[in-house]
Subunit: 195 residues, 2 copies
């Protein structure tokens, strides 16, 4: 039996973001502008060449948890000169050595160009959509700004004079890899809502 | 119905090593001194903190492929100063930037101490055994020796004057992380054979 305006009703339902990182939930909600319920489950992650492959696999696991509309994401930060290493393994560098380890690697490189990527996989209960946000920039040897959020104090987007960590929220969201991915998702969701 | 001397017969059966790397098969057979049949299947690998966790998961997947006695292995090379990074992700650094990338990271570090680990998981058809071989050493900025086998030309074991790549096979096997792991397995298998 059809309900009245099921599309609109769906879009008012909270999205589930499966992530063990509270900061990611806060940032996602801020950029997307819709309520997000963060569910802290550790999803097994595979090793793969691209952040997209890792995210797609994460989604497959998350889908088995019984939620309706859900989001998973994965982040990558890699140096051009290292063929995009650490890439999706940046989290293990942070865990092992903190942002300082990232700065140490940058110190060794003649070319400190890096690209940050956020891959979002959105499942609407029927099908999956992938949104990839990418921001080019440079990894600094010496961090600037607060060091709370991963490698934000070490990454300065191309054309900017500030690191992510020195930027106000709105300023960061406008240029960040995560901002780009979540805005692309937001556009898609609004398009869906108007159908 | 009991067969005559089933243990001895089992130990004559070829071991299956699941690995896509031909060099690993050759080295394994040389160190273990028993015939090994390498089967080139790409097993999905998870991301985890330790090479042992990754190897155990690999074994779980390999067990579903229908072989009897099998071996899987994973290798880790990490810098002490980076909290053991890249660790099990060393393969992605090699893929992205080659051994040169490893040398570049070493260049940045005051302390180039590193540890190489080989984790072997052996499945005899009933239960799993784990064998871990570890070798401490130093990662060189400038490689020495042939560069064919991964990072061998960049790694010099503690107390040695040569890199893995400069050593003769027997010399390398005596000190290498893989030598230690396979010898431990070999001792276990001989013990089993005598039961």
């Amino acid at each position: 039996m059809p309900k009245a305006s099921p599309k609109a009703e769906d879009s008012r339902e909270k999205l589930i973001l499966v992530s063990s990182n509270p900061n990611k939930g806060i940032e996602a909600e801020r950029i997307l502008g819709v309520p997000i319920l963060r569910v802290s489950i550790e999803l097994p992650e595979i090793q793969a060449r691209t952040v997209e492959d890792i995210t797609r696999y994460k989604l497959e696991v998350a889908k088995t948890k019984g939620y309706g509309r859900l989001l998973v994401e994965d982040v990558s930060l890699g140096f051009d000169e290292l063929g995009n290493f650490p890439g999706p393994y940046i989290k293990w560098l942070l865990e092992g050595a903190g942002g300082k380890g990232l700065g140490a690697i940058a110190y060794a490189l003649l070319n400190r160009k890096a690209r940050a990527q956020c891959c979002l996989a959105y499942w609407d209960g029927r099908e999956a959509r992938i949104f990839l946000g990418e921001t080019e920039g440079e990894v600094l040897v010496d961090p600037r700004g607060e060091r709370h959020f991963g490698w934000d104090a070490w990454f300065q987007p191309k054309g900017a004079q500030k690191t992510y960590a020195e930027m106000a929220d709105a300023e960061k969201d406008a240029v960040s890899h995560r901002g780009k991915a979540y805005r692309a998702l937001g556009e898609y969701l609004r398009g869906e809502g108007q159908k």
